[in-house]
Assembly symmetry: C2
Homo-oligomer: 387 residues x 2
């Protein structure tokens, strides 16, 4: 750490951790969830909306911002904070995940990766050095090292890829020039305990200000994901924030917090909202269903979000049926409110030493069908893959 960053672990409850990560743009109370603002906006919301929701950090995508509006333009504007008028902490991924998702439109080698833009087909190249330059131009508080996210169950490939990811992490660290950005390394290793452990130990040796776990929630089963966390977590540094990338659902977040994860991001709440999928403490509902046509109730009784305070399920259903933009916004507000209140409740439960009780109570009430689960996993996975 340095003068710009500090990590304070204030309480442990089992493996669950209550902590604060201080950044140049504010404190992130952990565990916490970062709404995804891919293209310099959390879709449908203003910065004021985000503050009103209690958002403490957002994620932006280097791949997208590099292509549009371009990192040089962002640098000219004094960085993404100024450009989008968000004064809270930002985290940027490295763009690696999106580039590797491009499948036949990219070509990876030990030095970096060449790819074609999904917007206009133009050719570009990312290396650890160019990615750090891009992330420095964007100017987020937390920046991610370039890594490769391999198919999690192909051992031979994962092993080979891991060496590359480690070399790239070291190159990212060497390339970094700004002390006011915290470079997080990304632990890979697929579903293989030895590789994960090896990765955590290698990255710990770099003494980075934070560590992420990548390559999960990318197609493996939930059991494999939880088992991987179980075997990996004892190897993760305890005095740094731990960020599980691209996760997740309320259940995954609770399971991961119980294993010692501090930070999450996922497009699921926002993307699902735009498709009418809304969180409640009793599971998810799809507001487009005909059964809500005349339903005068809010999405969830007792919910204090703006949407539930003002509008009925019937109105929200009407807006989505009529393809009205306001519907997308109201649904997004509700789902992010739900996720951020969940994180707040998790923190309160850890502080009170009753996290496992809270988790069990939450999951006992939160019942979603197997079909919804499959849909949710698929949606989260595909949402992350598609640039």
């Amino acid at each position: 750490m340095n003068d710009y960053f500090s990590f304070d672990l204030t309480k442990k409850d089992g493996e669950a951790r209550l902590a604060r990560f201080c950044t140049p743009h504010g404190v992130i109370h952990l565990p916490n969830f970062a709404p995804v603002g891919t293209q310099a906006t959390v879709k449908t919301l203003t910065p004021d909306d985000l503050h009103a929701l209690g958002t403490e950090i957002i994620l932006a995508n280097t791949y997208h911002l590099y292509l549009r509006p371009g990192t040089q333009l962002l640098a000219n504007f004094g960085g993404l904070h100024h450009f989008m008028s968000w004064d809270g902490p930002i985290l940027t991924d490295s763009g690696g995940f999106q580039v590797f998702s491009l499948a036949h439109r990219r070509d990876i080698d030990d030095d970096g990766v060449t790819f074609r833009s999904h917007i206009d087909g133009s050719k570009h190249r990312f290396t650890p050095e160019t990615v750090i330059a891009a992330e420095e131009a964007i100017g987020a508080d937390i920046i991610m090292a370039l890594d490769e996210c391999p198919p999690p169950t192909d051992r031979a490939y994962v092993e080979q890829s891991l060496a590359r990811t480690h070399a790239w992490a070291a190159r990212c660290q060497a390339a970094q020039t700004r002390p006011d950005q915290a470079l997080f390394g990304i632990v890979q290793g697929g579903i293989f305990p030895n590789l994960r452990r090896q990765s955590a130990e290698f990255l710990a040796g770099l003494d980075l200000p934070g560590y992420a776990i990548g390559g999960l929630s990318v197609g493996e089963t939930k059991e494999q994901m939880y088992a991987t966390l179980d075997s990996l977590m004892p190897s993760m540094p305890t005095d740094r924030p731990r960020y599980l990338m691209g996760v997740g659902t309320p259940e995954d977040i609770l399971e991961a917090v119980s294993r010692g994860i501090d930070l999450f991001d996922c497009v699921l709440p926002t993307r699902m909202a735009r498709n009418g999928g809304l969180f409640t403490h009793n599971g998810r509902l799809n507001i487009r269903n005909a059964q809500y046509r005349e339903d005068r109730r809010p999405i969830e009784e007792g919910c204090t979000c703006y949407t539930c305070q003002h509008f009925s399920r019937a109105y929200l259903r009407h807006l989505l049926q009529a393809k009205e933009i306001l519907g997308l916004r109201l649904a997004t507000l509700h789902n992010l409110h739900f996720m951020l209140r969940l994180m707040e409740n998790i923190r309160e439960a850890i502080a009170a030493g009753r996290f496992i009780e809270f988790k069990d109570d939450f999951l006992a009430a939160y019942r979603i069908s197997d079909q919804q689960k499959r849909h949710e996993n698929r949606a989260a996975y595909q949402a992350r893959r598609t640039p």
Copy 2:
């Protein structure tokens, strides 16, 4: 008028009128502009956004609401105000304009009009009686009589159509049962002074609480529109609000106010915003143009709207280029702010007895190209036609 409504003309400045129209949901200060909320939402905005903009009345479309979510559903919810959570005045058109725009999908006779839904092709029929029933179910403060909007320059057709429009106005009045809604008659007559005068006199004889002028801004030239107003206005009742339907641009509004019009509605500010067309006091700009790519200025220096207070032209351009929903919202906020401030400035100018000076100053600064004018006219016309 009755206990629910009152019209107070507080000041005249030339023909321009400063007035207040009191409705069950609040006072409308005239001259004023009603943002269009076709499908129970002013696109992209919440009711809170509308209040913050200083909106005093919104328009909703009976045709659209009748088809979706349906007028019975709205009645079950206690009307549109409750359904959409907007507690200010609402005006509903009769649906006639949209139905007649359906061209080959409608069939008109003296009793009413049969048409096919643009959503699912299903068959429906509007008569003066069914339209009033629909508008009573929706529950707006101001409801419009069913009229026919004929091609404005086809004299034989306009004359025949006018008799029907008058008979329908009388039938609407006879069908009305709710005293808490003000039924406005619609003066038709194309571009023919005698027919317009005849229409105004017939409707005045019905002693309705307000009068609209329909059938303008539907393809005739600006000169024809202004000339029609010039010859018509002396026949319009002076002790009732006068509403020019579907108008308009800042210039048209100023010209019409100078001729004694009190109320306007138009999709132009909101629809144009979603296409990147933004009002400034020096004319319109299209924020998608490459010249704004790195422009750090707000849309307009000195503008007090939320968008201009927080964001650069470059950011707004980025959002629209990236097809981000937030861009549509921020552009809409700016354009409605511009229109509603224009109306406020008009009222202040009339109060101060310097309306013509204000109008001349505004128009001297507000320079838009002939190409923009043609585009604007076409856009406003087509936007009104397309259900």
